[in-house]
Symmetry: C2
Subunit: 99 residues, 2 copies
Amino acid sequence: MYGLIGKMIALDGKRAELVAAMGESTADMPGCLSYVVAEDPDDANAIWITEVWVDKASHQASLKLESVQRAIARARPVIAGFGERFETRPLFGVGLGSP
Amino acid sequence: MYGLIGKMIALDGKRAELVAAMGESTADMPGCLSYVVAEDPDDANAIWITEVWVDKASHQASLKLESVQRAIARARPVIAGFGERFETRPLFGVGLGSP
């Protein structure tokens, strides 16, 4: 499996718009086992996205999906920047959906 | 919802033991929606644990479960330290199990 943990920073006051945009892309992503969008309780403009994919290729393929392209286009104008980003190699867990 | 992202560092060469210990605790945790144990591909001794709970209280209650106490006791001797730790406020996602 392939995992990502990443922080995105919205323009000041635009976090809800960024969250809404990211939510658009979560349905019907082949190979996606987990994709959680969370607010950062310590930074009013920041969100965390944690992802688990069957492999890195399925994550990369997802970036070309029309729904994801649409989400990226909607998110881009409200993104101020990116924070921490970690790749992981998930082994097992609770709450991993079927790909 | 309540989320945690955390990095744990095993003693040199003891990552597999730490992973095995953490795996013991993942079954039957009330309020747990997601709990993923992952290796850090860039650090042979590090693991990442990402968690989603229905609320902070259910996470705290889990620490008192016998199975979790057992896992902590088994993990403690092979833990060298802790890395990054972030609390999050999950909003929605793919792969959130039922509590």
